[in-house]
Amino acid sequence: MALVASCLLSLSFVLPAMAAGGPVCADGASPSPTMFAPRSIPAQKILDVSWFVWGICGLIFLVMAVLILWCIIKYRQDPDDDTEAPQVYGSNPIELAWTIIPTVIVFILFLVSARTIFEIDHTSPPPGSLEITVVGHQWWWEFDYPEQGFVTANELHVPLTRDGKSVPIYLTLESNDVIHSFWVPQLAGKTDVVPNRLNHLWLQPTMTGTYVGQCAEYCGTQHANMLITVVVHEEDDFHEWVTNQRMDAVDDAGVTEGRNLFLQTSCINCHRVRGTIANGTFAPDLTHLMSRSVIGAGVVANTPENLSTWVFDPQMIKPGCRMPSMKLSPEEVKEVVSYLLTLK
């Protein structure tokens, strides 16, 4: 029994360790939002201090586990022996030792972690940052680029560098309704997105790539599908993306019917398409819908088929989401989608 116990004890220790070993080798394009593959300065700092904490806790675990196992194996009662064990009521020096040693350990942990807290937690933007406002909605993300003058949704695009130098990204987090939490583990720890409160989060990417994350505070029915994609670009690609985003929606003569249908239904109460009368702010900005790789805050890929299903009835894809079915006929769906497909 003792042997089985020891196996199980070590198993419960080895499992986290395997996790630590496994995903480290993942490259920048890893779809897994693991904290073990940091691609940003704050995430790296967190991982560094975490290794330190894991090391200390692991050591304590080993010492205690060995002690417990030792007692289990060594001090098992001999079935024939019915005498009492020698009674030891306590020992001041020993008890003093196991009061002082843990105190010293947590003091060290405290100092090391406190330093990291103050390194990461910026209450004002670091010099030269790119400032972006993130607004949490049930159940999607709005990204507002005040410097560049446009609003987009669900996919955050940031540059790796500005003028050739690494650029801090300073997010201001706001909520439109309930509490959400912005969490992209490879870039930074999470910060809650609280109504009537401005929170801030510092990212500083160290590698281009696409990183995923999601809302980490339960926010209602579709909390699970409030996903985040962050794309870190080379400087030039970022400028290209910005230039495109700043343009108004294209006016493609080939899809006039679809556009009219879109503009005549209540789509425009919630959605905005810049350059048209669609001016809603309750739902994602669709001006450059087709520049995004996902729809429904990441619930499915942004393909024409998925888009058709979504426009027909979003509840089939994301049950409980705030967008109702517009009761369009299949023909009408086709036309609206063909219009949406031009919003590049």
């Binding site: 939002p33 693991t34 020698p86 406190a114 720890g189 980490a216």
Partner: protein, 559 residues
């Protein structure tokens, strides 16, 4: 003496039992601490099965990515009800029930100080729980079939405001818990009064068994921590029913205020739940190691300091809320601080085992399991106290793994240890050792398989409370393992149910003192008579029965 006309006196009087209605009346109208204790624990165990069923359905849904067994709404209700049930309708009643039964017995008293208040507390708890579950049928009223609350067990505002939570499910959540927490407060007051005023002759505070000490601190924490929750819930009720704006940001209220109030209750609550676990193993480990508890005064000091410090750590649930770095640092410090007395307790338990003659009967098996599991839960707790790491894994599956190691591996294992230890005292019959060992190993393996991998999925970025997830995130394996673990745990629980049923009918007769133990409850018959002791006991040490069994070497010489 037992007579057949007084049916309450005897499980032993098998032939000629009183009619069913009389027996039912006896239980319903009782103010006897032992009957109430049994009712608390058995109701708690029934809710444990319900809460476990809810967890099973969630693990079924999460076994594979993109599963559609449950709708998002159903899943959200399940985790809300699972959390609420396990904390308020399983943990609380079982710990109050065990305290009800054994605090008076261990201090040589006839009953609790206020027996009727005690009965009142139980019925408040029961009806609070039933009110909460009635929401499954009644919450939506005319609008359709019922729906349970779906706001999470900590019910963060403003999701609980009328704007976002329509219907009455959240009102049921508030009222159900309000009612049952009033019961807990009443029982807390009762326990404090009993312990302070009704100890038998010779039992000074420093001669109380550790269980009594721990329940004293526990009851004080209940008295301090429950009222803020009740206040917050009343405020929320005002918001919802009368248009107040305490927690409604749109009306100038504060979402952060709810979190402060809730966690000012919520963190001491965690200690309210775990101190009784400490209490049970502090009683069981010495008896099965045949050694006195190591360092009793330090154990008491550690208990008291845990009680104090636990009132000043609540912000560690809010590290990701965007509070100032200074606030986060201060509460990180206080949280680290609580690891010290908790560590002392671990060391003292191991110190008690060291040099003992350990009998691995089922209670000891579960207590050892508790030590190992609580060790892991405690250490992941230290990790979570580290603010930067917490920014990554707060509200992720890592946290789910952590608190299940504390509350399942810790509290529930200790509860099973307590049940195996005291079942003979309560019923007069032993539980089967072989079934008990099967149960332990199945639960131990299943538990680790379920909750170990959760730490991993959390660090791989999986947030808690999601009803589904995408296949490409690297979480499939860990979730599948967790779900398989649940099946093994179910088998373990089935062994337990079978063991209880079988042993109640035909278990071996226990006698007064089957474990050769040392505290006062073992000096009276099993089950104890209504008056507990024929004459008021007089004690000279912390282990009165040790003194009696070893007159040549009594404890009081060394204390």
């Amino acid at each position: 003496m037992t007579t057949l006309q007084q049916p309450g006196h005897g499980n032993g009087s098998g032939y000629l039992r009183a009619p069913f209605l009389s027996r039912l009346h006896e239980w319903i109208a009782t103010a006897d601490h032992k009957k109430l204790g049994v009712m608390y624990v058995s109701t708690g165990l029934i809710f444990f099965l319900i809460g476990g069923l809810e967890a099973t359905m969630m693990r079924w849904q999460l076994a594979v990515p993109g599963n559609t067994v449950l709708s998002p709404e159903d899943f959200n209700r399940l985790f809300t009800m699972h959390g609420t049930t396990m904390v308020f309708l399983v943990g609380m009643p079982i710990l109050l029930g065990v305290a009800n039964y054994f605090v008076p017995l261990q201090i040589g008293a006839r009953d609790l100080a206020f027996p009727r208040l005690n009965a009142f507390g139980f019925w408040l708890f029961l009806f609070g729980g039933l009110l909460l579950y009635f929401s499954y049928f009644g919450a939506q009223g005319l609008y359709g079939m019922g729906s349970a609350p779906d706001v999470g067990w900590f019910a963060y505002a403003p999701l609980t405001e009328r704007t976002y939570s329509r219907g009455h499910s959240t009102d049921y959540w508030i009222l159900g818990l309000l009612v049952s927490s009033f019961g807990s407060i009443a029982t807390g007051i009762n326990l404090i009064t009993t312990i302070l005023t009704m100890r038998c002759r010779g039992m000074t505070l420093m001669k109380m068994p550790l269980l009594v000490w721990l329940m004293l601190i526990d009851a004080i924490l209940i008295m301090i921590a429950m009222p803020p929750l009740a206040a917050a819930q009343v405020m929320l009720l005002f918001d919802r029913l009368m248009g107040a704006h305490f927690f409604d940001p749109q009306g100038g209220g504060s979402a952060v205020l709810w979190q402060n109030l809730f966690w000012f209750f919520g963190h001491p609550e965690v200690y309210i739940l775990i101190l009784p676990a400490f209490a049970y193993v502090s009683e069981i480990i010495p008896v099965f190691c045949r050694k006195v508890i190591f360092g009793y005064p330090l154990m008491v000091a550690a208990t008291v300091s845990i009680g104090f410090i636990s009132l000043g750590v609540w912000v560690h649930h809010m590290f990701a809320l965007g509070l100032s770095p200074m606030v986060n640092t201060i509460f990180m410090g206080s949280t680290f601080l609580i690891a010290i007395p908790t560590g002392i307790k671990m060391f003292n338990w191991v110190g008690t085992m060291f040099g003992g003659k350990i009998r691995f009967a089922t209670p000891m098996l579960f207590s050892t399991g508790f030590l190992a599991m609580f060790l892991i839960g405690g250490l992941t707790g230290v990790m979570l106290a580290t603010v930067p790491f917490d920014w990554q894994v707060s509200d992720s599956y890592f946290v789910v793994g952590h608190f299940h190691y504390v509350l399942f591996g810790g509290l529930v294992f200790a509860i099973f240890a307590a049940i195996y230890y005291w079942f003979p005292k309560v019923t007069g019959r032993m539980l089967s050792e072989s079934l008990g060992k099967c149960q332990f190993w199945l639960l131990f393996i299943g538990f680790n398989l379920t909750f170990g991998p959760m730490h991993v999925s959390g660090m791989l970025g999986m947030p808690r409370r999601i009803y589904t997830y995408h296949a490409d995130r690297g979480w499939e394996l860990w979730n599948m393992l967790s779900s398989i673990g649940v099946l093994i745990q179910i088998a373990g629980v089935l062994f337990f149910i079978w063991n209880v049923i079988r042993s109640l009918r035909s278990g071996r007769k226990a006698g007064a003192d089957p474990w050769d133990a040392w505290t006062l409850e073992w000096s009276t018959t099993s089950p104890p008579p209504e008056y507990n002791f024929e004459e008021e006991p007089v004690v000279h040490s912390r282990r009165p029965l040790w003194d009696k069994k070893h007159p040549e070497d009594p404890d009081w010489k060394y204390e």
